[in-house]
């Protein structure tokens, strides 16, 4: 009688774990130090934001939407605003488009630097965590200077933006951009050439191009595998149509499109430089004119309550493509339906092939490599407002529903 022992054992990472900055659960099957199976379990961080949004009028939802995520607050604000504009056929002014682009790119800079710091922390390199977060302060200061506060900028309104970028602000903007251009070499030295970082990121967490396409990943996660996918180019919003952009993939800069953590770092660092260029161009080309097409707020509030329609807002967030769906009805002042699909939701499915065959030591780094934002992703509670019933769903049902809905939205809504 052969007694073959199953030597695998299970280690849960999460819901609360230092490797994860937000509640999230991944169950790992390990054989020694090697991962043989990984299964993500989202749904630990339901906050019911969509539900809260459906009990508020669109004007109130703008500040709420930017609180979905602490890092990509501009992203969600932008998507909700453009979705509502789409529903109501409001056109933002040209100047507003440019200001929006500048803000989006500033946020990308801050998000990517933050990610680099987190990645360094995950591999036990706290020095670079402190370094990157120190240099991140500069862009935070600029955002604070333009918008008034460090996070939650409250810049967007229907038809434009609420704060102008005036000529007095230009010197500070250019100074910050120059600061990052000068520092860029140092960042590259740290993250692409440091021997101990190279040792940890090269060939770790590989996502092949085939897997990336099949699993519908988005953003830098799949661009590192060589997939040309970027909403800013594929379907330009704000002022991106006026700019000449190219996909940031590693092969453009003399690296192989391997899809490992190293390539993801390359993509993010190069996007940093691209963002600096975009902001420069936007500031130079900034058209004159009004910053919002709906200056009368009281009339706008009235109009929002009375109109009906549905719209989609898409954006290339720092983590990849994200979508908001908004429906307004005539009967209710409040938002009738609001559905958010954040980029992390797509990228989670890419975890499975990335974790396979790696070591425990690589778990935090690979988990961080998609730049997960669980707060953006987990938030559903389904409520039928017309019938006044609150229905509770199990995680699996909810998951299915969400998948179905995402499919419906992407099939029906997007032009």
């Amino acid at each position: 009688m052969s007694r073959e022992k199953d030597t695998t054992y299970e280690v849960p990472i999460g819901p609360i774990h230092p490797a994860l900055k937000e509640p999230f659960l991944i169950k790992f099957k390990l054989k020694g130090e090697e991962i043989v199976d990984a299964e993500p379990f989202p749904g630990m961080n339901h906050r019911g934001i969509e539900f809260m949004g459906m009990h508020r009028n669109p004007m109130e939802v703008i500040p709420l939407s930017e609180r979905i995520c602490g890092i990509c607050s501009i992203v969600h604000q932008h998507m909700f605003t453009t979705a509502t504009e789409h529903a109501l056929s409001i056109e933002p002014t040209n100047r507003a488009r440019y200001i929006r682009t500048i803000m989006c790119e500033l946020e990308r800079i801050h998000s990517h630097i933050l990610w680099a710091g987190v990645a360094a922390h995950e591999i036990g390199f706290d020095t670079h965590l402190h370094f990157t977060w120190k240099i991140r302060e500069k862009v935070m200061d600029l955002l604070e200077y333009i918008a008034g506060n460090r996070v939650n900028y409250s810049m967007w309104t229907f038809g434009g933006v609420r704060r102008d970028i005036t000529e007095e602000m230009y010197p500070k903007i250019f100074e910050t951009l120059e600061y990052y251009e000068n520092l860029y070499e140092k960042l590259e030295e740290i993250f692409l050439e440091d021997p101990s970082i190279k040792l940890r990121t090269r060939g770790v967490g590989v996502l092949t191009k085939k897997d990336a396409l099949e699993l519908c990943g988005v953003g830098p996660t799949v661009r590192a595998s060589g997939v040309k996918k970027d909403v800013r180019i594929d379907q330009p919003y704000a002022a991106y149509g006026d700019l000449d952009l190219d996909y940031v993939i590693p092969s453009r800069y003399g690296f192989e499109n391997k899809g490992d953590v190293f390539c993801k770092t390359v993509v993010r660092l190069k996007e940093l430089l691209q963002s600096v260029d975009i902001i420069k161009k936007c500031v130079e080309q900034m058209p004159e004119g009004e910053i919002t097409s709906e200056p009368k707020k009281a009339a706008l509030l009235n109009k929002l309550g009375k109109s009906a329609g549905e719209g989609i807002g898409r954006i290339e967030a720092p983590r990849g493509e994200a979508i908001h769906y908004v429906r307004l009805s005539e009967e209710r002042d409040d938002v009738d339906c609001w559905k958010i699909r954040a980029s992390t939701y797509n990228n989670l499915s890419t975890y499975a092939p990335m974790f396979m065959g790696e070591q425990i030591a690589d778990i935090p780094l690979i988990a961080a490599s998609i730049d997960p934002c669980i707060g953006c992703m987990d938030r559903a509670e389904i409520i039928d407002i017309n019938r006044g019933e609150v229905q509770s769903y199990t995680k699996e049902e909810l998951h299915e529903l969400s998948v179905k809905k995402t499919k419906q939205i992407t099939k029906g809504g997007v032009e």
Partner: protein, 340 residues
């Protein structure tokens, strides 16, 4: 009667050395944290922070998990602390020679160095958590890896002095016993020992057993209160132990003898020890500075300048490059000694 009195004094002195060891360990831990923070452009905690941490941990509840083996779980921290304290009695500390000279040698010290790691692994395995189990496995793997370069270094020194006695080795600085080739050889051996130091003390880049971001504290994940405080002190004392060992083996210089040609430090002679008061104070201060430099180079700088290695890469690092460097050093020393 004399025998009893002699051992009585020694017993009291060992207790005194233990207390001084704990105090210095925590103080230097504070230094390490402060310097690390300053290198990372932070202000960092005050120097007395480790003392506060220990005080706080002793006040906290000590929890024993349901799946743990209680007696192993509780004794592991004590077994991690005791060897380091005992070892201090066998080491020359500044101007004072080894208290227990003649009763133990370098081999004993190597064993005492290994026991805390084993105790930590046992404590981890006894706590019944998957994280701690993985941490314990890693600790043992790492221990097996760094023991070889460590043994090579010890053997090289013993070969040079033809004895394992630390008292004899520290009586004459190793650098003056050999010529140019041997000097290079011992520099390589010192490099090996400095590389072993962070592994021995479980500091980044060799902190895989704790690996906060991977294993959430690894070995110590289930430890709390008094047990955790004991581990904390054990780690601090071990730092002093390893630092003092390196000083005894490679830098046994005394300030008073170094500057003797120019300034003669004397002062009132202390009975029993037979040395001048001012000379003693200068030598103690010099020893503390040497300890600080060793800890700064071997722990603080390496801790902030490198990322945590994967366990297989850490193991490889000790088994292949470090062993080769160590053996090369040995070879050079042997070549010079045999006069080839």
């Amino acid at each position: 009667m004399n025998f009893v009195l002699d051992w009585g004094i020694k017993f009291v002195l060992v207790l005194l050395i233990s207390l001084i060891g704990i105090f210095l360990g925590l103080l230097y831990k504070g230094f390490d944290r402060k310097i690390t923070a300053m290198m990372q452009s932070r202000i960092g905690p005050p120097l007395r922070q480790p003392f506060r941490d220990v005080k706080k941990l002793f006040m906290k509840e000590t929890i024993i998990p349901d799946y743990a083996v209680p007696w192993l779980f509780n004794y592991a921290p004590i077994f991690a602390l005791l060897p380091s304290l005992v070892a201090l009695a066998y080491l020359p500390l500044g101007p004072f020679g080894p208290l227990m000279d003649g009763y133990g040698d370098l081999i004993l010290l190597l064993y005492l160095l290994a026991i805390p790691a084993v105790a930590m692994a046992i404590g981890g395995l006894a706590s019944g958590s998957p994280y701690a189990t993985v941490g314990a496995q890693r600790e043992l793997v790492l221990m097996m890896s760094y023991e070889l370069p460590l043994a090579i270094a010890a053997v090289t020194l013993a070969y040079n002095y033809e004895t394992f006695s630390v008292g004899v080795i520290s009586s004459e600085p190793v650098w003056s016993t050999v010529g140019a080739m041997g000097f290079v050889g011992f520099a390589l051996v010192l490099a090996t020992l400095l590389a072993v130091m962070p592994g021995e003390l479980s500091k980044v880049p060799f902190d895989q057993a704790e690996a906060e971001t991977e294993l959430a504290g690894g070995l110590f994940v289930e430890y709390s209160g008094r047990n955790l405080a004991l581990f904390y002190i054990a780690e601090a004392v071990k730092m002093i132990f390893v630092g003092a060992l390196l000083i005894a083996l490679f830098f046994p210089y005394q300030l008073s003898t170094l500057i003797d040609p120019w300034i003669s430090l004397g002062g009132p002679t202390i009975p029993l020890l037979e040395m001048g008061l001012w000379a003693m104070i200068a030598d103690v201060a010099f020893f503390l500075v040497k300890l600080l430099v060793i800890i700064y180079v071997g722990v603080s700088v390496i801790r902030v300048a490198f990322a945590r290695f994967q366990i297989n890469k850490a193991s490889y690092f000790y088994w292949v490059p470090m062993t080769i460097i160590g053996l090369l050093g040995t070879l050079l020393v042997v070549l010079e000694r045999t006069g080839l």
